[in-house]
Symmetry: C2
Subunit: 68 residues, 2 copies
Amino acid sequence: MKNIVSQYRKQQGYSQDKLAELLGVSRQTIISIEKGKYNPSLPLAMMIANVFQTTVESMFTLEADDYK
Amino acid sequence: MKNIVSQYRKQQGYSQDKLAELLGVSRQTIISIEKGKYNPSLPLAMMIANVFQTTVESMFTLEADDYK
DNA sequence: GTATAATGTAAAATGAACTTTACGTAAAGA
DNA sequence: TCTTTACGTAAAGTTCATTTTACATTATAC
């Protein structure tokens, strides 16, 4: 999985802290998602897309090796 | 989270077993998702949407109480 | 040059997603 | 009636998503 969360976040001028707060998650969660350490849960992914008024598919892209 | 996976699946004439096989997951996983026992991971949700040639957003919908 | 803000790392703990196995039920057909 | 197909439940185990805490780095700004 790739994602462009940090691009959207910076476009909006949000810090990681601010985004975490908007989403109701910890800052660690944002860092880990942006750095690709793990994938967000589905509801979190949808909330991230919502915050930036876009779709899950335009924010996150599947890669060959993510079968799960 | 609500989802309409079983509707799409039946429209395509797939059994739960067949869908599980197409996705590379167990039948239990399909049952549990359809019954709302838990949410799929993000990559799995995207693969489900792909199989039915639709989007994550049209397959899964956030509800008030899913903040994560 | 010291405070502050933003980003990062690491590790331990919890809960959720997923697998495997095994068993139960119901319908459909030969 | 026996077999097969589809759907469901339950429980134990593994891995992954998320939190919390604590500390490190870098840049800016005063």
